[in-house]
Each structure stands twice: as structure tokens, then as C-alpha cells.
């Protein structure tokens, strides 16, 4: 059985950019998130993580930059993914607009909190 998708012309709009963003950020997140999870969850483990551990890790600027990238890409990827899921369930365009703005604020606030903590470090 031969069924393939025909390539057509796509007008560039917000959804088109979001579609591409999900794929490129997703590919980038594979090394970023997997390395983070492998080290922190699997190899180190939550029983060896405490305030000192975080301070020690963030003493290295490289890890701070790493965490900053992980925060930016993972959370934006996730919130946009949630928006795409919701779009399947919310029929009214008006309500979806409200939800999208709500998600944007949610994303901005949580990202800002995380970014301040990474820059500020352990107190």
C-alpha cells in the first residue's frame, strides 16, 4: 500500500513557525534533557541531592548556562505542546485565544522564576 503525503506550498504564519519550533527544539532537547536526567535522576539520584550539591554544581558557570538552555527550551516546548493538545479539545476560537494568552503568561512567569534562580544561585 502506497500512501504518502504530497508536498504543497505552506504559507508562513505563527502556527507554521510553532510547528517547526517543536521539531527543532525537540531534536535539541534530546541531548539536553537526556544528559540532565541521566546524571541527576539515574547516576546521582535524589538521595545525594541537597542544597550543597546544587551550590557545587552551579559553582560551574558551564552548568548554569546548560540549565538555562534546558529551562528555556524544555519549558517553551512543553507549554506549546500543551497548547497544541488543548487546541484539539477547545472548539471555540474565542476561548482558545484566551487560553493561549493564559498559557503565555504561565510560561513567562515560571520561566522568569527559574531564570532568576539560576542567575541568583543558592543563597
Amino acid at each position: 500500500m502506497e500512501t504518502s503525503i504530497e508536498q504543497g506550498t505552506i504559507t508562513r504564519n505563527v502556527e507554521n513557525v510553532a510547528w517547526k519550533w517543536m521539531r527543532y527544539s525537540g531534536l535539541l532537547l534530546i541531548p539536553l534533557a537526556w544528559i540532565h536526567v541521566a546524571i541527576q535522576d539515574v547516576l546521582v539520584g535524589v538521595h545525594r541531592i541537597d542544597l550543597n550539591y546544587v551550590a557545587l554544581r552551579w559553582a560551574n558557570t558551564g552548568w548554569r548556562v546548560y540549565d538555562f538552555f534546558l529551562l528555556s527550551f524544555a519549558f517553551a516546548h512543553g507549554v506549546n505542546g500543551l497548547r497544541q493538545v488543548l487546541r484539539d479539545y477547545v472548539q471555540s476560537e474565542e476561548r482558545m485565544k484566551g487560553i493561549s494568552w493564559g498559557l503565555l503568561v504561565f510560561w513567562a512567569v515560571i520561566s522568569l522564576i527559574g531564570a532568576v534562580a539560576i542567575i541568583g544561585g543558592v543563597r
Partner: protein, 136 residues
């Protein structure tokens, strides 16, 4: 809400085979990871905003239910990544390869690869759970 009910009943009734299974797994693992990620950003942020609270957050993560949840979280991150790579590579680089036979074959391979990658994590995290929480 009706749409949600329809989704749940549809999950059982609709026989979409591998494609449907990977669609559902991709969404569930993605949403699950986002839920954890949101909580995780906030609890880690306490190291700057409320350093005294950080140890309480870590204590919760060290409890048995959360450690079991963490093992599933690792599976979610692995599966979502492998399946996401499959989608991204097909979509971006060879959209003409998106055929139903290819979909079925690659969806099955995706699940197999994810499980194989997860097994070492399952072993190490399971051991950590038994050693730290049950004194084995």
C-alpha cells in the same frame, strides 16, 4: 468535557493500531513530563527564593511513591525523545516516507528502543529505591 469523554471512549473503540498507540503515548509522556517540569522548576527555584524550603521538597522526592513516579518520568522523557526524533526526522527531512507501513514499523521500533534505553535506568533507580528506602 464531552470531547474529553469522547477521547477516553474513543481510545478503547478506535482501532488505530501502532499509530494511535504512539500518538497517545507521545501525548501522555509529554503532558506528564510538563507537569513534572513545572513543579521541578518551582522547587529548584527555592534554592534562591526560600533556601530553607529546599530540603522539604527533596524529602518529598525521596519518598517511595515519588521515586516510583521518577522511574516512569525517565521512561516518559526517553520515549517522548525517541518518538519525537522519529516525527521530526520524517517531517523535516523525508515527509514522503510517511506511509502507513512505515508508520507501523517505526512506531514499533520506537517503543522497543525506548524500553531498551530505559532498562538500565530502571535497574539503577530501582536499586537506589530498594537501598535507600527499604535498607536492602
Amino acid at each position: 468535557m464531552n470531547d474529553f469523554k469522547l477521547t477516553l471512549t474513543g481510545l478503547v473503540r478506535y482501532a488505530g493500531r501502532e499509530g494511535q498507540l504512539s500518538f497517545i503515548l507521545h501525548r501522555l509522556t509529554g503532558l506528564g513530563t510538563l507537569l513534572f517540569l513545572t513543579i521541578h522548576i518551582l522547587d529548584t527555584s527555592t534554592v534562591y527564593f526560600f533556601p530553607n524550603l529546599y530540603s522539604h521538597a527533596i524529602d518529598i522526592y525521596r519518598s517511595t511513591p515519588f521515586m516510583i513516579g521518577e522511574i516512569f518520568l525517565v521512561f516518559s522523557v526517553i520515549y517522548h525523545g525517541v518518538n519525537g526524533a522519529r516525527i521530526a526526522i520524517f517531517d523535516l527531512f523525508s515527509p514522503k516516507q510517511w506511509s502507513i507501513p512505515n508508520e507501523r514499523k517505526t512506531a514499533a521500533w520506537t517503543l522497543a528502543i525506548a524500553i531498551v534505553l530505559w532498562l538500565p535506568a530502571l535497574f539503577l533507580m530501582g536499586r537506589s529505591l530498594l537501598v535507600n528506602n527499604f535498607g536492602l
